[in-house]
Amino acid sequence: MKVSDLVEQLQLRIFAGQAGLGREITDGYVSDLLSDVMGNAPEGAAWITLQTHQNVLAIASLKEVAAVILVQSREPEEDSIAHSNREGIPLLGTDMESFACAGRLYMLLKTD
């Protein structure tokens, strides 16, 4: 599934990183612990988190995740937006909390 498809299906906001909307989402990961994401997030994941600072994008880039989804209506910091645009990794947002967002993502990815 492409990031743009997920945006449409879950009605996500696009904060930045539009250039990466064609990236392929092959998995998902939910975590607010950055070392956990470094250690365990799969490549191509849509990463669901409530962390909004720039380090999230540094990790997203190093791990080559497909997109970052900020939950609970959180807004990214300005540096995060710049970093997302620089790396072409979409920074998305939703009013859902992590559980609901992950559930929706799971249904879309794993039940095709």
Binding site: L33, S35, M38, G39, T49, L62, E64
Partner: protein, 139 residues
């Protein structure tokens, strides 16, 4: 003769740009055509060590060397050092500050993550003087 060497300055004052050395070195490895699984492992290990150098060491340096058969990265800081390295290696053990933890760091996973991804991890530390961490990844 090394294929590539570079010394990165890891600046602890620029807290919003953690991971710059790792990001840059990952690009270098890609340009050199290093195999993607090696690049991933190196990037993870280097990022974790870079973060440690910042949040525990107060900043320092990372010297990278690419040889024919391995990548070596030496981190050096002049922070408080590690009194008990065995304890520091344990999953979940951390001395990170509340502020650092709020950012999602300091979960006690950094050193174990490094260990998992490298061929060799060596830590030399003198409490009160600083820490040297050397990682080697076989090619």
């Amino acid at each position: 003769m090394a294929l590539f060497t570079k010394k990165y300055i890891i600046d602890a004052d620029n807290s919003l740009s953690y991971g710059q050395a790792s990001s840059n070195f990952k690009k270098v490895l890609k340009l050199l055509g290093i195999a993607p699984p090696i690049i991933k492992r190196t990037a993870i290990a280097m990022y974790e060590a870079e973060i440690n150098t910042i949040i525990h060491g107060g900043g320092g340096t990372a010297q990278v060397v690419i040889e024919d058969d391995h990548i070596k990265i030496m981190f050096e800081d002049h922070g408080p050092g590690i009194a008990d390295i065995e304890q520091a290696m344990q999953v979940g053990y951390s001395t990170a500050s509340h502020k650092v933890r709020e950012m999602g760091f300091g979960a006690g996973l950094g050193l174990p993550n490094i260990q998992k991804n490298v061929s060799e991890l060596k830590i030399d530390s003198t409490p009160g003087k600083g820490t040297k961490v050397t990682i080697r990844i076989a090619l």
